[in-house]
């Protein structure tokens, strides 16, 4: 039976090849578009990879987070370390102003001991040095690569926080391609003295391991007033879910073109079955059941779908490859996308064949053999 299907398909090479192209383009579009979302999700997940055990805690009141609150949080089960993070807006022009109002550069303040949690554990210094314990109380700043480059700053240069308060650049972080490139990191004690304010707005809490980070966030929310805690794990999950929804909608656009190609299969199969009426009549006369004829036609449209799907995966992979190499966009063709594309193509092929197959199976051999 399979041999007959293949033989039948080879009888109309051009017609079937055009249909294949239609399916391949449709499935290719689904996969290329899907690879954008998959790539975004992957790059986001890898960006947060070292941070799965972190919980972000923000104050919900004007008063901020006090030293006692920090102590309480540090007693919660599963908490390994509490990292106070101060955020201060300087009078420096941060560029990219909004409606004529320029936004000041953000100074991020931490204890020198905690600086690796902000810039990342595997990140090194390009020039100068990192913050040290003795810098607490001093006007020293460790800055990101882009921040320095954009302003032509070097180690030893000074930057203005406002009111003629100058910070000396003691080091420049290597280029990371991430958030750290725009960072201005200063000692927390310096800022607390300068602003005459002990309380801060945000904390990072490091859990003992990633497994307990969500429980730690829950416990903080339940036990500490005026703060909101969210684990990075939950954050990544929420963003992933949102990305997934957007991604599905985008892939739907590709799916529409694949469905149009599926209608092409239906037309081609109707033509093929019409041309073969006599043959189908003969097959039924010599003992083929309706089910066998149905299977035969579905097999043919299924083969078109399957080959179209394989070509579609190749098209989609090429599309993703081009996005990567030409636009430096992190498109990723995942196994799941390949399975989805192939499955969709197969279902499309079989679905498109249903009506022609049903028609063929109902042919009356007496009629067909008498008149044709």
């Amino acid at each position: 039976m399979l041999r007959i299907s293949i033989r039948n398909l080879l009888r109309h090479k051009l017609r079937n090849a055009l249909t294949l192209i239609g399916i391949a383009v449709g499935i290719g579009l689904v996969i290329s578009l899907g690879s954008i979302g998959a790539g975004l999700t992957q790059s986001m997940e890898s960006a947060f990879e070292g941070s799965a055990d972190l919980v972000s805690v923000s104050s919900t009141s004007q008063d901020g987070i006090s030293g006692e609150m920090i102590e309480e949080i540090s007693y919660i089960d599963g908490v390994e370390r509490v990292i106070p993070v101060g955020s201060y807006i300087s009078s420096m022009d941060g560029g990219g102003g909004f409606m004529g109002i320029s936004v000041g550069v953000q100074f991020t303040a931490v204890n020198p001991d905690d600086q690796d949690y902000i810039i990342g554990p595997e990140i090194f210094i390009d020039r100068g040095r990192k913050l040290e314990e003795e810098d607490n109380g001093k006007f020293a700043a460790l800055v990101g690569y882009k921040f320095a480059e954009n302003r032509d700053l070097e180690v030893g240069d000074e930057i203005d926080y406002g009111n003629d308060t100058l910070f000396e650049i003691i080091g420049i972080i290597e280029e990371t391609g991430g958030d750290a490139d725009g960072l201005v990191l200063v000692p927390l004690e310096t800022m607390q003295e300068l602003e005459e304010e002990e309380n801060i707005q945000t904390l990072l809490v490091k859990a003992e391991d990633a497994e307990v980070s969500e429980t730690v966030a829950e416990d903080i929310n339940m036990n500490i007033d005026d703060v909101i805690a969210i684990s990075y794990k939950a954050l990544v999950r929420q963003i992933s879910e949102a990305l997934g929804t957007v991604n599905l909608a985008v892939m739907g656009i590709g799916a529409v073109s694949a469905i149009v190609a599926g209608l092409m299969i239906t037309v081609v199969m109707i033509m093929s079955v019409t041309e073969r009426r006599r043959e189908i009549g003969i097959m039924k006369a010599i003992g083929a059941t309706e089910g066998m004829i149905l299977k035969q036609v579905l097999q043919e449209s299924g083969i078109i779908g399957l080959i179209g799907g394989i070509l579609g995966v190749a098209v989609g992979w090429s599309g993703a490859f081009l996005m990567n190499s030409l636009f430096d966009f992190p498109a990723a063709v995942t196994l799941w996308l390949v399975i989805l594309g192939m499955g969709f193509a197969l279902i499309l092929g079989m679905g498109a064949g249903l009506y022609p197959a049903w028609n063929a199976s109902r042919l009356d051999p007496i009629q067909v053999l008498r008149y044709e």
Binding site: I4, N8, I286, G287
Partner: protein, 223 residues
């Protein structure tokens, strides 16, 4: 034991309409196992409808059809397909081979429908091809063969599942006299030496005369 039995079989088309057509009017016919009968009659006399009835391609409006003593008049389409591929071999005037398949694949087709194993299928179809004197032409496609050769392949296909009954509808109608005689020899040989029941529709009286019995049809009746 009868091979085929028809009891009061009627076949009407467009019942109750002004163009009602009575193709078969009360047919009673019993054909013994191993018998060779020919059905003759003018066109429109109902002989093709009768053959379709015996061949389980059609079902009677009224009456009963027995194939090898089992009633087939109330069977559904897939049960009738099973009778067609197991008990009956068809030989047509137009040969009706599948054009895209080779000789050997055409012969294999009924076995494929019956679910015969691959090895058995290859062995049997080659054997049938040898019997038909076409042993070396298995890989040719029908259009490369003469009419006589195509009809031999069709007979081989009819024999694929070793049916008891062979139905031949004007088997020599598309062949020249000499080739026609050879095809008749093959069919008669199957009847005499393999004890196949042979039922043949023809309009050629000379060919009809070779049969054990002649059934004459006129206006949907046996006369």
């Amino acid at each position: 034991m009868s091979s085929v039995k028809l009891e009061n079989v009627k076949r009407f088309y467009n019942i109750g309409k002004t163009n009602e057509f009575r193709a078969l009017k009360s047919i009673d016919l019993a054909i013994d196992k191993g018998e060779f009968i020919s059905i003759i009659g003018p066109s429109g006399s109902g002989k093709s409808t009768l053959l379709n009835m015996i061949g389980c391609l059609d079902t009677p409006t009224e009456g009963k059809v027995y194939i090898e003593d089992s009633d087939v008049s109330k069977l559904n389409s897939s049960e009738r397909a099973k009778i067609r591929r197991e008990s009956i071999g068809f030989v047509f005037q137009q040969f009706n081979l599948i054009r895209s398949l080779t000789c050997i694949e055409n012969i294999e087709l009924p076995m494929e429908f019956a679910g015969t194993g691959r090895d058995e299928m290859i062995k049997r179809s080659q054997k049938l091809l040898d019997i038909m004197g076409l042993g070396d032409k298995g890989n040719q496609i029908p259009s490369e063969m003469s009419g006589g050769e195509q009809q031999r392949v069709a007979i081989a296909r009819a024999l694929a599942n070793n049916p008891q009954i062979i139905l031949a509808d004007e088997p020599t109608g598309n062949l020249d006299t000499k080739t026609g005689e050879k095809i008749m020899e093959v069919l008669i040989d199957l009847n005499r030496n393999e004890n196949k029941t042979l039922i043949m529709v023809t309009h050629d009286n000379e060919i009809a005369d070779v049969a054990d019995r002649i059934v004459r049809m006129q206006d949907g009746k046996i006369v």
